[in-house]
Symmetry: C2
Subunit: 218 residues, 2 copies
């Protein structure tokens, strides 16, 4: 959320106000969810009239898209921060959970229920690719430590459709593993954040940790 480097004072002011709007938007989303995000309420909180915000965001969707972009960016940053040097899969997994619990609605904004017609801008898919790249690195390092098992039918299929991995040189078994890591961690995390474990009594952290252990072959 730092786009404050602009030459002209006008642009600087503009970036500043855009940031302030996003700030209020995040607060609102955190308490009432993205569907309840109201430009009018943000304007009221900022002490300006409703239509004033339309100078900064063409419409509600554009603001939400920007928030999604920032959320992706934030996750990519924490991933690269954590996985950049020592690409440790378990550490990455727990960094993901920390990031998610830090602001559940931010996680759900990215990985939760989308509006059927919505198409993510090219931009975000690129950042998603960055995230996947870090995950692939960690999985490749993990695979190097553990002996590989026999290739499955899914491995072969993924070998034929490996465009989503960019130009990552990992073998298809690593692609499969990365995908499995993603889906399994998301499975526990999304159910936890959605409150489906709420009345069940057990500690979701332990369930998550067990999945991480299973994924790292411990």
């Amino acid at each position: 959320m730092a786009e404050s480097d602009a030459r002209t004072p006008r642009e600087r002011y503009r970036a500043q106000v855009r940031d302030e709007i996003k700030q209020h938007a995040w607060e609102q989303i955190a308490t009432a969810g993205a569907s309840a995000l109201s430009l009018n309420a943000i304007a009221k909180r900022m002490g300006v009239s409703g239509p004033a915000l339309y100078r900064y965001y063409a419409n509600r969707d554009e603001l939400i898209t920007e928030l999604v972009r920032d959320a992706y960016r934030s996750l990519a940053d924490t991933f690269r921060e954590r996985g950049g040097a020592g690409a440790d899969l378990a550490g990455l997994a727990h960094a993901l959970r920390g990031w998610a619990l830090d602001d559940p609605q931010r996680y759900l904004l990215v990985y939760g229920t989308p509006v059927p017609g919505y198409h993510a801008p090219e931009d975000t898919t690129r950042i998603a690719g960055e995230i996947m790249a870090v995950l692939l690195d960690a999985c490749a390092a993990c695979a190097a430590a553990a002996p590989s098992v026999a290739a499955t039918a899914l491995d072969d299929h993924l070998g034929d459709h490996r465009d989503w991995a960019g130009d990552h040189p990992a073998p298809s078994s690593v692609l499969r593993h990365a995908l499995t890591v993603w889906t399994r961690l998301h499975g526990v995390l999304s159910l936890e954040l959605a409150g489906h474990f709420a009345g069940m009594g057990f500690d979701p952290a332990r369930l998550y940790a067990a999945e991480v252990d299973a994924l790292t072959g411990r």
Copy 2:
């Protein structure tokens, strides 16, 4: 969606109109998602004025709650239908995917992003218990076929917090397995339905099948 068994003509008519409202609501949700559900639009389609619907549902939330209840009921029915006699875990898993793909927004209404303040009525948690019971049966049968492994720390923890399993007599390792089945299948399914696999090229069905294979120890 059959509550049409009522004594008086008034009650019969009332139940019929409630059903018709829900019918239109599902159509709307399927195309635009639950957040875009509009009572006014439903009324217009039914050829009545907006406020007329408030005779049948006190407000928008009550209608959505009813839809969630029906969705739960529908899933519980397909589960019991499939798992009632031959409780086969793989069959159950594919029945789940079929049910989800049959109406993605219905799945997401139940397992997708909730509104932060929303509390599911007691009713739905009871139906969720039914669903879990079928899953536990299938996992117990699966465990009887395969030899059990050593108890994990998570097993012990779940043994201490087994209230959510009702009075199901399964050992804690089966509880853990059922929970794992739930989270892993949901992980693949929810990412698929949310469109996160969209531009990636591979076939989500194969990824799902691979998870099912891993869960059934094949």
